[in-house]
Amino acid sequence: MSIRALVESEYARQTEALTSNEAFQMLETGKADTKAYNVFIANVCKTHLRSPQILAFLYSVAPPASTEDVKHNMLEELGLDEEGIPHPKLLIKLAQHAGFNECEVKTLEVLAQDELKRMTSEQILYGSMKEIGLSALLETASFEWMLSRLASQMAKFLEKHRGISKDGLDWFLHHSEVDIRHAEEQLDSIEEYVKYYQFDQSHFESILELTFRENVFIKRYFGEIALARHSGMLD
């Protein structure tokens, strides 16, 4: 199987697991309570608030052939492109529309930063930056691939069942349109990356498997307990 096909197949598997997850379906069908919607919104914010920093890292390790795409993606996240909308601000707006107060919004920013600090501080199992870069690229691209397919759906259930106005859902709406292009570009970037850094198939497959050993979407959007139920580790 080609690199692209392998990656897309993994992304499809991860996305399918997310949409068939009970926690996701509760939100989608309106059976969840307000607290569950708020936890979901908080988790989306925590996951993506530091995306510009992650993209800056990916930019620094990008092969020459994909540098421009990654740079454009990063500038777009920062609001330094022609549209001028910083994506973290859209996430803050989402939290505010959900009724999060100033202190709660600040907490989300602190938690997102803490996660970055933790990632930077921990011992690394991989032996080189090229491997860490590949894993980060695979995970980042997986979110764009998933969001390009599900962001509208998520926006819809937040509007319908949580009463968030369209204005508050800009982050989702923006991602549902923009990420269709990004997702395709990211798949190109992954192929370029693998070629440029001369990963052999087995090496690449191991990093792909390790990156998606857990369902990253369920873990980040619904937490460890939902993930454990999904993987059968908890009843």
Binding site: R118, Q123, L125, I225, M233, L234
Partner: protein, 379 residues
């Protein structure tokens, strides 16, 4: 220092994926965390991992013993500053009614007292256990599984440049799995096996002769805990060095194993052996007898036991293998601010923070607590 109150958390932290050996398949950690608060407000955390097939303790009996027997005794003691490794806090002995030893319960208390005493004085455990090395090198573990799964795990460990690997064996297709793992990792990686007592004497000798060509550095617990003379028979005929694990729980076990010349290696595990103090006593006995050493770990242990293990591993003179510090490689979430997992090459640095060197997050304890027991001052 007197302890004002204690809280015991029976945890249920899910694993990333299940972990199997010949006796048990586990999907979550079932550690017990003891949180002790001194009269002047210092807080220390300890951990014990009860295993019915190792010490005879279960989570329920361990919690009951901690609450009703150890806590009333510990609460009466005025603990003094720890001056040296010979001066670690003593946990009152309790009757071994129906168990081999209450070692997990004792360990949870001992580690919490060490953490509390040292945090109160803003000192790391390394001031009591001066490190002999700056980096601890850990082994990887491959669980009982299909050949395909074993090869996949071996590939990951090779990618992480882990130099020593332990493979769980269970009498099912062991030779083929081991050969496939050896092919994957190459000739220079140290492989050892752990049977968790899966064989009888005859079977064990047969298996050992069968796998000797795969270059196996040692076999852990080939037969169940029992008569040491059976183990001595296996050792006498084995072409591969023999390590004891479940057979070694108490100091008395260590003495019997040494005098029967029943093994080549001791596998020390802090929770199994009753805490740092008893682990060091067994290690001393082993070193005097020329016994080789491994510092093992409990499957599913959290950052607390891993941190204690890191200090002991750095302190002991001669240690050939170290296990543990798997952290979030196995647990879906660990309980401390700091991750204590090992990194590339199995390497992990010394812990320099106060006490055991980790800050336990109470919100994580509460998140995964299956049961919480609070104990106040005993009158």
């Amino acid at each position: 220092m007197r302890i004002r109150n204690a809280t015991f958390y029976a945890l249920k932290i899910p694993f990333v994926e299940s972990f199997s050996h010949s006796i048990k398949t586990r999907k979550f950690s079932d550690s017990i965390i003891a949180g002790l608060t001194s009269e002047d407000g210092a807080v220390g955390y300890g951990e014990g991992v009860p295993r019915s097939y190792v010490t005879g303790e279960t989570v329920e009996t361990c919690l009951d013993t901690m609450k009703n027997r150890l806590w009333p005794a510990v609460a009466q003691i005025d603990y003094s500053t720890i001056a040296s490794a010979n001066d670690l806090p003593k946990i009152p002995e309790i009757k071994k009614d129906g168990v081999i030893a209450w070692n997990a319960a004792q360990t949870a208390f001992e580690l919490a007292l060490i953490d509390c005493l040292l945090k109160r004085e803003k000192r790391p455990l390394s001031t009591i256990l001066p490190p002999k090395r700056q980096t601890v090198i850990y082994s990887g573990v491959i669980t009982s599984s299909s050949k395909e799964k074993a090869v996949q795990l071996a590939k990951y460990l090779k990618l992480f440049a882990v130099k020593q690997i332990k493979v769980k064996i269970d009498g099912q297709n062991d030779k083929e799995r081991l050969a496939a793992i050896r092919d994957t990792v190459g000739p220079d990686i140290s492989l050892r096996v752990d049977a968790n007592g899966a064989f009888d004497v005859k079977q064990a000798i047969g298996v050992l002769k069968d796998i000797v060509g795969i270059k196996i550095d040692c076999i852990e617990q080939p037969i169940p805990r029992g008569n040491v003379s059976d183990l001595a028979k296996v050792k006498a005929e084995s072409p591969i060095p023999v390590m004891v694990d479940e057979s070694l729980v108490t100091l008395e076990d260590a003495e019997n194993l040494i005098s029967a010349k029943a093994c080549d290696f001791f596998n020390l595990r802090i929770s199994k052996c009753g805490g740092v103090s008893q682990t060091l006593q067994i290690a001393k006995k082993a070193e005097e007898a020329g016994m080789r050493l491994q510092l093992g770990a409990q499957v599913g242990e959290t950052a607390v036991l891993s941190a204690a293990g890191r200090h002991v591993a750095a302190y002991l003179d001669s240690l050939e293998f170290v296990e543990g510090s798997y952290g979030t490689m196995l647990l879906t979430e660990d309980i401390s601010d700091e991750k204590v997992d090992f990194g590339h090459g199995g390497k992990a640095p010394l812990l320099r923070g106060e006490g055991l060197g980790v800050h336990v997050r109470e919100e994580i304890l509460k998140k995964y607590a299956d049961k919480v027991i609070e104990c106040g001052k005993v009158k």
